[in-house]
Symmetry: none
Subunit: 216 residues, 4 copies
DNA sequence: TATGAATGAGTGTTCATTCAT
DNA sequence: GATGAATGAACACTCATTCAT
């Protein structure tokens, strides 16, 4: 019945405009990855989408508005996927690794957005706030884990906020440096498991309890 | 009288031009810290120096040339000060902490240069190479330490280059996030000892040997 | 049934299209009153009508064509209503006041059209001609009255065309300045009788015969 | 002494930049007279000055800022020259005519500025305020004259503000219509004395005391 | 060395208009 | 008749860089 019409028509929710909109967001991510946000030209993005420059403004109010939307999606993904609460039956180490794994996966895909926000946050108050919120969201989540670790004797005496900030900094920036073409290993592909393995090892070790000296 | 003033003046090699040159470099760092390198306007820098825009080109061939020079100085400092070799009588932990301390000190002062290079490395091959070299220099140094730690049973099985990349990423980006006005803690001043304390703790723990689970 | 609905509908000539057409013209007038003709966006007008931008071009060939049509209606009203000839039994003063009253009433309603034409006449030859014709129509009518007044000893020696041009200028521009939101008295509502009273007094006095000095 | 240097050098106050600045303002007036302010292209103005488009922004922050400056000069001229107070020994009629004569002279030269301000005042709050102030300045001056005339029995019972508004409207708009290429008499040159003669006659008559009917 | 006016290529954005649906 | 996404020409404005003084 209604099924028929659904089969025959494009899904009613996916209008032509929404498709273009999504295409622009994807293309923008690719262009930002290569040129940075400041270097991203609206015309280039639209050329990548196969549309005229003016069409951009049918879907976004400005270049900045596009980045704000990309950031909103990015932040939403992080909130929903990364900040899943610790389940009762979950091993803290496993929880942390899961969190880190999700973090990695999202950043791996969206680091151009993060980089763009980082760049813009230096010169623009609005982006400074937006980016700050995103970082804080991640930091709060990790800080909770750090506090839990401290109850078990880990990282005793350290400020959980600072530790969380340092840890998210490591993951975030390492993701860029291991993923981007202009990163630390341009001639080498680092697969997800290797990356997550190294990062989660480092983080878990860093948060552990006992204080065995490095060389003994 | 005039003799006195001559005696008080800097050595004959420090000409008026060289002073302006240095002043430009300092001012540029301040402007980059606020606006980023892309947002840095030659005219603003020169205004901060109290000179006309045209005077910039007496001292630097271009805006990019200025950044290349800033980077050269930055890299030189890192090479000379951070990468001091491990002395025979030095405790590896202490060595690492010293290295980290120096790293921190230099970054704390020059992070605008690092940020500028990072940003430019995305769009410009020359800067990509220059910035890559600087990162590699740091990574090589830390990788050596990691290898030493592994001989003592730390971080066994992990790729020392990746570990070193992750660690330098943490320090570098944490330094930005704890120092810059648009960083993670805009309302809080984080003093050097606190910062170095947290970072060295995390790094030392991360590179240690035993593998005690987080929660037990 | 269908018969009924046909009976209830407007006359067959007033199609849906004609209604939209009229609605567009009314909405345009309102938008021009706020933004001017140059600032009038087709999309805004159509939004005010509750239709899509594209629908505009079903009814008008272009933005300019719309203004030309508005002008044609405006001119027609002026011709038919203002330029009624002096009847034999009519008092010249009363005739002038009647003319002025009608003039005022039309301008009060349609000044956005006049303003638009005025603005466009500066840059566009077509509108320059159209607007010139409308002004001339008014000037000719007033000039006839001036000539009549001169036969009675009023404004002797003055060029009737210039006098008529000055008088219509006064009425036209005063109407704008007393009516528009950005006019001379934004905080005050000037009712028709007051306005017509002042204007007709001034015009009648100005066209009178005797030359009593101002201060005696 | 110093005289010598003044003779040999360009006057110290008239720098190269100030000359260009003035040239731009003059050229802008000419372009606005032809195209209107909305139609005025910065590039055209600069071409008329014989400089590159970018040079405009050395002297003015924006197109709007240029108009604001033109308006400031215009308003200053009106304030200083038109609104000279009535001297004790001056005949009120002569005073009014002098006032009108100056008004005319300034408008004759600067009507493009007035027209531009009028156009912009419809869409822009800043210009609405600026233009309103200028009009009010003129209206206040004329209103004082009207009040004086009323004491001698002229225009009794009429609101002086409205009368003044109407009179300035007449002069202002008549000046445009008799001066601009797209005015009422494109094929005819109206010299200053004729114009002033007609206008002052009309105004003086309009403000007189006795109320002789038009036709008798 | 320094000035500062001038350059001119480059880009974000607007909006009247078109057209497939 | 109506839709609304798309077009594309146009234009204000920026800023690194140059150069006559």
């Amino acid at each position: 019945m209604n099924d028929d019409s659904e089969l025959n028509e494009p899904s009613p929710r996916v209008t032509k405009g929404a498709l273009t909109r999504t295409a622009i967001m994807q293309a923008a991510k690719r262009v930002i990855a290569i040129d940075g946000f400041a270097g991203m030209k609206v015309a280039d993005v639209m050329a990548a989408v196969g549309k005229s420059p003016g069409a951009f403004y049918v879907h976004f109010k400005s270049k900045e508005a596009l980045l704000h939307e990309l950031l909103a999606v990015f932040q939403h993904r992080l909130r929903v996927e990364v900040n899943a609460p610790l389940r009762a039956d979950e091993d803290p180490s496993a929880h942390l690794e899961n969190r880190l794994r999700t973090f990695w996966r999202i950043y791996r895909e969206d680091w151009p957005i993060a980089t763009a926000a980082f760049q813009m946050s230096m010169a623009d108050k609005q982006f400074a706030r937006a980016w700050h919120n995103i970082r804080q969201q991640g930091i709060r989540g990790f800080a909770a884990v750090v506090r839990a670790a401290q109850k078990s004797g880990g990282s005793v005496g350290l400020d959980p906020e600072l530790v969380a900030s340092a840890v998210t900094s490591m993951i975030e920036y390492a993701c860029y440096n291991w993923t981007a073409a202009t990163g630390d290993f341009p001639d080498r592909f680092i697969d997800d498991e290797t990356a997550i393995g190294v990062l989660s090892h480092l983080v878990l070790q860093a948060l552990r309890g006992s204080e065995v000296p490095l060389n003994q």
